[in-house]
């Protein structure tokens, strides 16, 4: 057998092929082959072109076949102390496994006479193995905790597996927390999780809020939600655990699955009395989703409703906020009294305040050019049938409530006017609201701003501003209703 330089990759490659040719036909040693060449070794170290593996191959070959001066090995290790360190470590293990059979095999294969100084070689093998083991353990000596954390913070290579005692781990975590370097804290915590019992790991997290928060953040970033939820439960942070679960329910797109998941959530995670607020809200949400689904299904089919032609739907109402849904129903389903999509049904189902209900209804109706007069607003609240406007009972109750001095609809007039003006309400409607505005100076200003002429005239009359009225009359087209009105007021009114 020729001597082969173990450094030449291609040569050693050729040699490998050669070697396998030689071994395979010898069927006399199948058992040896089976035990020696474990599958991963055969695939990685003999076929792979990886440099380090080749190196290990070549060294082995040289050990068993040829007299190799120990100086060349030490040369190799000295030349590349850092990079080769790891491969030597694994090489040490391989050596342990391989030495006896391979030595046996080669001695059986009839190279005995070439290997005359057998005991010398064995000595050499032992020596080398010791050397390798020493270098292996050198890299496994724990460096001081501070140095390890510094290396982690500055992005240098590090190894944590040598910190095996619990106190070591605690020190490591404390040092990482002192460095307040989140990435390092997480690396240490992941190491702790992998090497400590759950109970001990939890103790560590409980002792430091920053550690717990960092680790939870890591789990969320890595989308390991299940573990994050379990951890939150174990840490006694039930509210957060429930909300994390809620977050995942929201990500479900299928309606049936989503509502089912939300139902399980309310019955299981939110059963604690401290979380009733969430339970109420999420129950409302489930109810709303069901309602929206059925509204959406009906409306996407129905072609009878003329409103859909005049005001095409911008989008599906599904998964929209509650008030948006009410606005939508006020637009399209005003007359469907008694059904699940009637605006009045919303008010009772979701315990809406007067303000919430009125704003949504007024805005929704104004969108389809249906404007309420101020005196109609209270009727919206009292009619139970949902929008039977001008019904006698409603009007009567409105009158009686206003007589009894009940507060006016709780909507601020300036904002109401703005909303109606934006929805291009006719001047008569705006004038009705303007007449309620106090003080009169503000009424005049608003009337001028929205250019409601009759209201300007009325405000000027109310302010007893004769000169102002005369000036304003000059802008009005003679003969118009406002002109006539102003003219009449100038003639009949009592002026300062």
């Amino acid at each position: 057998m020729s001597t082969v330089s173990w450094r030449g990759a291609s040569e050693s490659g050729d040699y490998l092929v050669d070697w396998s040719k030689r071994v395979k036909p010898t069927k006399t040693v199948p058992a040896v082959q089976g035990t020696v060449v474990s599958p991963d070794i055969s695939s990685t170290s003999y076929v792979s072109p990886d440099v380090s593996c080749n190196l290990s191959d070549s060294i082995l070959d040289n050990i068993t076949t040829d007299n190799l001066s120990s100086s060349s090995i030490s040369e190799g290790t000295v030349a590349q102390p850092r990079g080769v360190g790891r491969s030597l470590g694994s090489l040490g293990e391989k050596l342990q496994d391989w030495k006896p059979p391979s030595v046996k095999k080669w001695s059986h294969a009839g190279v005995v006479e070439r290997c005359s100084g057998c005991s010398a070689l064995e000595q050499q093998v032992a020596q080398l193995s010791n050397q390798l083991q020493a270098s292996f353990s050198r890299s496994h000596v724990a460096v001081p905790v501070a140095a390890a954390v510094h290396a982690m913070c500055t992005g240098q290579p590090y190894a944590l597996h040598c910190y095996r005692s619990l106190s070591d781990k605690r020190e490591l975590l404390a040092a990482a927390l002192r460095a307040s370097h989140t990435s390092t804290i997480i690396a240490v915590l992941v190491f702790c999780r992998n090497t400590l019992s759950r109970q001990l790991f939890l103790q560590e997290l409980q002792s430091s809020a920053v550690a717990a928060q960092s680790y939870l953040g890591y789990l969320k970033q890595r989308r390991q939600y299940r573990e994050a939820m379990e951890l939150l439960q174990d840490l006694g942070r039930h509210e957060e655990a429930a909300l994390l679960r809620y977050r995942q329910c929201l990500a479900i797109t299928d309606h049936a699955k989503k509502t089912a998941a939300l139902r399980t959530l309310t019955s299981s995670s939110l059963s604690s009395p401290a979380l009733t607020h969430y339970k109420t809200l999420i129950n409302d949400q489930i109810d709303l989703l069901e309602r929206q689904k059925s509204i959406d299904e009906e409306d996407s089919k129905s072609s009878s409703n003329a409103l859909f032609k005049e005001y095409p739907r911008a989008s599906s109402v599904y998964d929209k906020p509650l008030l948006t849904t009410l606005y939508y129903c006020a637009m399209y389903h005003w007359t469907n009294s008694g059904s699940h999509c009637a605006p009045a049904a919303f008010r009772s189902a979701y315990r809406l305040t007067e303000r919430q209900f009125l704003w949504a209804v007024v805005r929704g109706r104004a969108r389809v050019k249906h404007y309420f007069l101020p005196e109609q607003l209270p009727t919206l609240l009292t009619t139970r049938t949902g929008g039977m406007l001008g019904s006698l009972s409603g009007a009567l109750s409105a009158v009686s409530s206003s007589l009894a001095g009940a507060p006016r609809p709780s909507l601020p007039l300036d904002r109401l006017l703005d909303a109606l003006h934006a929805a291009s309400a006719p001047h008569a409607v705006l004038a009705a609201y303007l007449s309620l505005v106090e003080p009169r100076e503000l009424r005049l200003r608003l009337a001028q701003h929205y250019d409601v002429r009759s209201a300007v005239v009325e405000a000027l009359v109310a302010l007893k501003d004769k000169a102002g009225l005369q000036r304003y009359m000059e802008q009005l087209p003679p003969g118009s209703a406002e002109y006539v009105k102003a003219d009449a007021a100038l003639k009949t009114g009592r002026w300062k």
Binding site: G155, A179, S180, A209, G217, L281, P321, L322, L323, Q356
Partner: protein, 643 residues
């Protein structure tokens, strides 16, 4: 190493013709650009560049596409789930250090390899003479993590089976601060506030520390330092780690210090300021249109170039002398100033008609172009003023009265609650409702009671959607939403109710609710009602909020500069986080007159205006460095979108 006074060539940046106090911040841009080039050369040869969307604006301020092309970048893509269509064998991804970016990259790679396989199959099946432009197998991918490689990114890469092996490698790139103006440096980390103060993830602080170190390697280490806050602590630890490493390696070389004071503070030292509506001109632009990395995108109708009717992007900085003169003014006075300037220019132009031909020649050569540019700028800003006034809601005065009344205590909580309910019922934008709710809770001495909290939040979710249950919880975590837990002290939820901020605070929970009120007293944040605050020729820092409130961070710096560190020690105890300080014993008059204020989590334009006034008042040059300019809307949206 000593740096000579450095002057940016006017052709290169166009900014800063004068050198103020030796510190030329535009050098940082140069430096950042160079390290970007180094980063590009890590992957020699032709490559496609895929950039995270949140980094694009930042890179744009740092460099130009031409520079990228000079360094063999073929095509530039935005990082999305959809794989890029580039044809290069090499790819460079420039991403934030989050696992999701790695996931995208792994998906892109898988997609590419599958396509490659399919194409090969087709190629084999079809006739050989068909020349198809088939894909090149990817030979190398360099993933550039900004600002540093984190453990979770390494883990994700390993899990995707891409670690080692030589195909994909990680590289970190810390560009440092990028100047947006002579006195404003940014890192453009739009997610920092959420990551740090909601999630408790301070991993970006290492990058901030590194950027600070870069700044100090140019302008010298600060002679006095004050840092307070959780993020600030992480930043200063990282900064000192880097400095000690350098000191060990180079004993002799030290840059002469040009920075007198360095303040590092967290956004959560003052959460009230972003909740208040900004009233300076620049602040109003930010509230209405949003300024991102110094650029505002104006709607079509405001485009100064009438020929191209499309949304226009305007760079807002003091290069535009007209804008520089009005940016920090109270909005109410801006139009007046602009009109006056327009008249001045008009008279100068009219004067030119009486000029002799020689004078005229000079005028046309030097002044005319400048006057023309100023006139254009005036008309642009006048139209912006007009548009903002038009877009302001009818109840703006009610809103302002409520905000300022809550801060000064003039408005009763019940009144503010009614206004909030009205805003919800009218379905105003989420951020407006949330700002008001948070302001209400912070200014009450005990926060909101549990009952109030439940009633107000159910009205909010009715208007904005139930999913914002999550947003509300996150707001409590940050400490933007204070809920009194006296009723439920013994219940398990109480710890969560208090939120992260209070868990990290130095005080016990009992006193914590009164913290903001006490802070206003210690720092004198609320001017006396009798004190007359001139809004248009301001001398008081509170002019930015109509004289109702002085931004706490600015006041903290102001008091510390004039009365020393001791004067604010009581106030610092009320702010969560720990304090680090050094160098406060010596004589202050010998210090260089440059003050750097680093605000982790974003700074508002109202605060920038107040800092500018403080600089004028103290005769110091105040440079504000930050993770990005922010506003109440940006904060609220970053919290709501993450939820």
């Amino acid at each position: 190493m000593q740096h000579p006074p450095y002057r940016v060539m006017s052709g290169m940046s166009g900014h800063c013709d004068k050198i103020v106090s030796g510190v030329d911040v535009w050098m940082l841009r140069e430096l950042g650009c160079r390290s970007l080039v180094c980063c590009l050369e890590e992957l020699p040869g032709k490559k496609d560049l895929i950039i995270d969307a949140s980094l694009m604006k930042f890179l744009d301020r740092l460099s130009q596409a031409a520079t990228l092309r000079e360094h063999d970048v073929e095509k530039i893509f935005r990082l999305e789930q959809v794989p890029p269509s580039g044809q290069c064998a090499q790819r460079m991804y420039m991403v934030r250090s989050i696992p999701d970016s790695v996931k995208f990259i792994a998906e892109h790679l898988n997609h590419h390899q599958q396509e490659l396989k399919q194409e090969q199959l087709q190629y084999q099946q079809k006739s050989q003479n068909q020349q198809q432009s088939h894909r090149v197998p990817i030979s190398r991918i360099l993933v550039v993590c900004v600002p540093s490689i984190t453990y979770s990114v390494e883990c994700q890469l390993e899990e995707e089976g891409l670690a080692g092996g030589g195909l994909v490698s990680l590289h970190s790139f810390c560009p440092g601060f990028v100047p947006l103006d002579d006195d404003l440096l940014t890192l453009e980390m739009p997610n920092f506030f959420r990551d740090a103060f909601v999630e408790g993830d301070f991993s970006s602080c290492a990058g901030i520390g590194q950027s600070l170190h870069l700044l100090c390697s140019l302008f010298g280490a600060p002679q006095r330092l004050l840092s307070h806050g959780r993020a600030a602590h992480a930043v200063i630890t990282s900064f000192q780690r880097l400095r000690s490493d350098i000191d060990e390696s180079h004993h002799s070389t030290k840059t002469k210090s040009q920075i007198g004071h360095l303040f590092i503070l967290d956004r959560d030292a003052d959460l009230v300021t972003p909740l208040l509506t900004q009233l300076t001109y620049e602040g109003s632009i930010d509230e209405h249109y949003g300024i991102h990395a110094g650029v505002v995108e104006l709607p079509e109708n405001l485009n100064p170039d009438a020929n191209k009717p499309s949304a226009s992007k305007i760079m807002l900085n003091s290069k535009d002398s007209i804008f520089a003169s009005v940016r920090h003014k109270h909005f109410a006075g801006v139009a007046g100033v602009l009109v006056r300037r327009a008249k001045e220019i008009q008279t100068r132009k009219e004067e030119s008609k009486k000029m002799t031909p020689a004078q005229m020649k000079e005028f046309v050569a030097f002044d005319l172009k400048q006057l023309q540019a100023q006139q254009n700028s005036i008309s642009l800003h006048l139209s912006i003023c007009e548009a903002i006034t038009k877009a302001t809601r009818r109840d703006f005065d009610v809103q302002l009265t409520t905000e300022h009344g809550l801060v000064t205590g003039a408005t009763a909580a019940s009144e503010a609650k009614t206004y909030f309910e009205d805003c919800c019922a009218r379905q105003l934008p989420l951020s407006s409702c949330l700002r008001l709710l948070c302001l209400l809770s912070l200014t009450q001495s005990n926060g909101l009671s549990l009952k109030e909290y439940e009633s107000l939040t159910s009205q909010l979710v009715a208007a904005c959607g139930h999913k914002h249950i999550l947003t509300l919880f996150d707001l409590r975590q940050v400490g933007l939403l204070n809920v009194s837990d006296s009723a439920s002290m013994d219940q398990p939820q109480s710890s969560a109710m208090r939120g992260l901020r209070q868990a990290a605070s130095n005080l016990m929970s009992k006193g914590q609710f009164a913290a903001w009120r006490s802070l206003t007293k210690f720092l004198k944040l609320i001017p006396d009602a009798e004190e007359l605050i001139d809004l248009h020729n301001p001398s008081h820092l509170s002019y930015v909020f109509n004289g109702a409130y002085t931004p706490a961070i600015v006041q903290l710096v102001s008091q510390c500069l004039t009365d020393g560190l001791q004067s604010i020690s009581d106030a610092l105890k009320l702010i969560p986080g720990s304090t680090t300080s050094f160098g406060w014993s010596g004589d202050a008059t010998l210090l260089p007159p440059v003050v750097v204020v680093l605000v982790c989590g974003g700074v508002t334009f109202a605060e920038l205006a107040a800092f500018r006034l403080l600089g004028l008042r103290t005769g110091k040059r105040i440079i504000v460095a930050t993770t990005g300019t922010t506003s109440g809307n940006k904060l609220m949206n970053s919290i709501a979108n993450g939820s």
